[in-house]
Symmetry: D2
Subunit: 295 residues, 4 copies
Amino acid sequence: MANIGFIGLGNMGGPMASNLLKAGHSVRAFDLVDSALQAIANEGGEACDNALTAVDGVDVVISMLPASVHVENLYLGDKGLLTAIAAGTLVIDCSTIAPASSRKVSEAAAAKNIPMIDAPVSGGVGGAVGGTLTFIVGGESEAFDQAKPLLEDMGKNIFHAGAPGAGQVAKICNNMLLSVLMTGTAEALQLGVDNGMDPSVLSEIMRTSSGGNWALEVYNPYPGVMEGVPSSNNYEGGFLVDLMIKDLGLALEAALDTGSATPMGTLARNLYINHRKLGNGRKDFSSIQQSFVEK
Amino acid sequence: MANIGFIGLGNMGGPMASNLLKAGHSVRAFDLVDSALQAIANEGGEACDNALTAVDGVDVVISMLPASVHVENLYLGDKGLLTAIAAGTLVIDCSTIAPASSRKVSEAAAAKNIPMIDAPVSGGVGGAVGGTLTFIVGGESEAFDQAKPLLEDMGKNIFHAGAPGAGQVAKICNNMLLSVLMTGTAEALQLGVDNGMDPSVLSEIMRTSSGGNWALEVYNPYPGVMEGVPSSNNYEGGFLVDLMIKDLGLALEAALDTGSATPMGTLARNLYINHRKLGNGRKDFSSIQQSFVEK
Amino acid sequence: MANIGFIGLGNMGGPMASNLLKAGHSVRAFDLVDSALQAIANEGGEACDNALTAVDGVDVVISMLPASVHVENLYLGDKGLLTAIAAGTLVIDCSTIAPASSRKVSEAAAAKNIPMIDAPVSGGVGGAVGGTLTFIVGGESEAFDQAKPLLEDMGKNIFHAGAPGAGQVAKICNNMLLSVLMTGTAEALQLGVDNGMDPSVLSEIMRTSSGGNWALEVYNPYPGVMEGVPSSNNYEGGFLVDLMIKDLGLALEAALDTGSATPMGTLARNLYINHRKLGNGRKDFSSIQQSFVEK
Amino acid sequence: MANIGFIGLGNMGGPMASNLLKAGHSVRAFDLVDSALQAIANEGGEACDNALTAVDGVDVVISMLPASVHVENLYLGDKGLLTAIAAGTLVIDCSTIAPASSRKVSEAAAAKNIPMIDAPVSGGVGGAVGGTLTFIVGGESEAFDQAKPLLEDMGKNIFHAGAPGAGQVAKICNNMLLSVLMTGTAEALQLGVDNGMDPSVLSEIMRTSSGGNWALEVYNPYPGVMEGVPSSNNYEGGFLVDLMIKDLGLALEAALDTGSATPMGTLARNLYINHRKLGNGRKDFSSIQQSFVEK
């Protein structure tokens, strides 16, 4: 069993740390929010006053933070964790951030002989609570192998995407494609409905034909076609429009860095931004369907 | 066994008629191209001098033509087939045409008590030869049930999409979505590669995640990732860019008719048109990948 | 002075016919709406019971109808006006319709030695009332020269765009470009405002730089920047979103006919359709600015 | 006359420094390229070994560098110019960089009581040589007033866009709109030509109608319509596709920072990137016309 320092106990980090405790690890935790700290203490974790204390003497450091700036501030600089973490300690950053940021921190860690992987997740709060997250990992194979058992205590599918930063790259490529699939599926369904088709019949035909995709398979955006998905629950819960826009922003940043053209992904981003401007930021991202429906 | 009049023996119609002969039906056939007529005669069909002769006394009429104008000209007007076909004869049009055209001909047939279905196909020349086509059918249930055994002699998956015209609608919705999937997959793969990823690793991660879709499953557009697909054969064969553009044009026509917004589909169409302008019209449609690669 | 048959007395056609009367011409008029007919009779026109009566014995026929289907139905067919109009009578269709429709009617007219021009207008209801419309004309030079003095009684700028249909082509190209200018201007202004700029200062800089365009010059879409334009009047009046979408549909139809790529115009169309779906169809088209503003 | 330190003597900076010398100012100059330094020395400037020497004892510092990173590295950090420049010395950065970078440097300068303005230019190499550049300035009014006479020695139009960074914002908004105008104009012209129109006639109609814009006025992208522009010279010279893509990247970065939707600008960027991939990076940006022409 490992001795883990865990930084960031939000909607995702909190249940991830809980699952590590349930698996028998010891967890020293830090978060800026007292109630989050108290909650993890109630489950047997050790609440620490600050991040430096949380990583004191641990075998593994795990962080789960909102954005690039938080991750850079946590690890880098005169008072950053990399000044305090012992050489050889495994560092796992589960935040979804810019690949460039991820590589920057990872290189700084490597310079101090601290093996670090980027391991962004998908699966949402439900996956975090249920321990069924998907981890997409960038980093050296040795570090990946070392991290894998721990990740399996929090998730189900663990991918090794490549070198440091590759976890971030793979996740944002996937989510950009997801936004394209979802928007494309929504507009195809609406075109069919506008031309007199039953959305369930059309969904089934496309699902089993060359239009088949994840949205048609398990996350149909048209209300009433599929049970137990956000579209049949007024688009509550699920993966928020705000978060999809965040990930599309990261994809676009990466495209800017490499001069890549991403016409479909940037169009989807713009459609999502216009959708959010109408007050849909906290809806599930499949609610883009509603932007195609005549009001 | 049925007595069938078959009009249109092109790349698709020819092998479809062959399969009907192999299944034991008798086929009276017509095409403007002599060699096509001769070929079907060699396989046991009866070559006719014109379309009217071909449908003389048959139980079922099947047509497979390039575009709306050909179908309208074949069936409608003073010398159209509908003036010659006996009431009660089942008519199956397998052409991919505008839903509005399909409904127009179907209504004219209904007015003469001729049951007619639209049954556009997918699966390409390979599917036509192998008898593994997918048929997406619009029309009354009774006509659909009557046609189904014949369609099964030419194909594998037979869908009933709804009322007359619905076969066309479902097919063009599917193919519009397909163009979006393919283009989105291509740009996501390229973004990953531009950011240092291995296209095979990224393909596998996205395929089993929420980016999963038909292209990643069986038709990966990135050269070398998948064997036996056009991308690994210099984009030869498969589903031509020219044909995808035709189907996207039909989708757009339908969207114009109903005032529907199809931002992703129309962007894909424009990207395909620019791709064709560089001389790629006769390449497989997954060659859109190449438009994202630095030259 | 000419003896004119005028068909279609709507928002545009009514004031156009009035201006012809004011210029001293005699006008025989027809419209399906009684009140419109009564209005023109009150101004000295002759109200006719049907279109055939209205064109009886006239020198010139002018029509102003909503869409391709109305124009084709008016002129073509067994009871169409072309069966009744004498050879040599000048026909001027001011409707904005598909170039293909325009050419079809024009060819039918030419076959009967009836010179016909397409002369779609811009300038809106205000231009129709004030006699300041712009006419963009397609047709033979002789017919254009003959029509010009009459068009000058209803408008200010008269362009000869080319052969029959060219008036329609030029108008829809212009309006597609207009939709692109307006949407591009709106998003550039919003990007500036979101980044802290004063919209008036930014408007003035771009107007006098390489971003200069008609919208910045006379029709600024940002509320409060320019007086006397729809954006400073809650987007009331002006050129309706519904009409812009109609014209973008015609542009797209033309693009489909010729296989042309129009990525910017089709994106603008889709943005306008989504904008209309939120209830903005009867707002001025510069209201697209509002789709970029955070709600 | 002022005593000026000038950093960056490239295609733009070189002739700008020359014009300052011609106006009678003394110029201490630095560039990494020896031949550029030698050239300015031949015209009466003082060639310095490094940037710190160049700004020694001057009244005004002017910099003209390629990108954000160069500007940040020049001014910030332990050896940055801001450690050497005397309080009260006016700093003018003419580079086109990210507004966020511009504000960062400007704030660091302000903290040392060094007034700084961002003054990106448009007008290209021709404008730099001829002294007819447009300067779009962000910064305090006092600094703007102080800089204006110097800017007038290098340019013709001097705009005050607002607070620090506003010069960058206004420039990238303008250039994003320019890319939209140009691409929209190109596709409208091609749609007209594909439908049988003469590009010169269509250009003239749109120029004087609501499609009017800077491209139609002075920079028509269709070969042969206008003399003396890049389109009539095989798209040589002018404003390079590579540079337009750089500016569109900056616009997109700014949009990412503020969460703004820029659908038209990002589509234009993607079309330009695909255009560059075919080898057109060093062509004038109006060459986007060629991507709409059938090959």
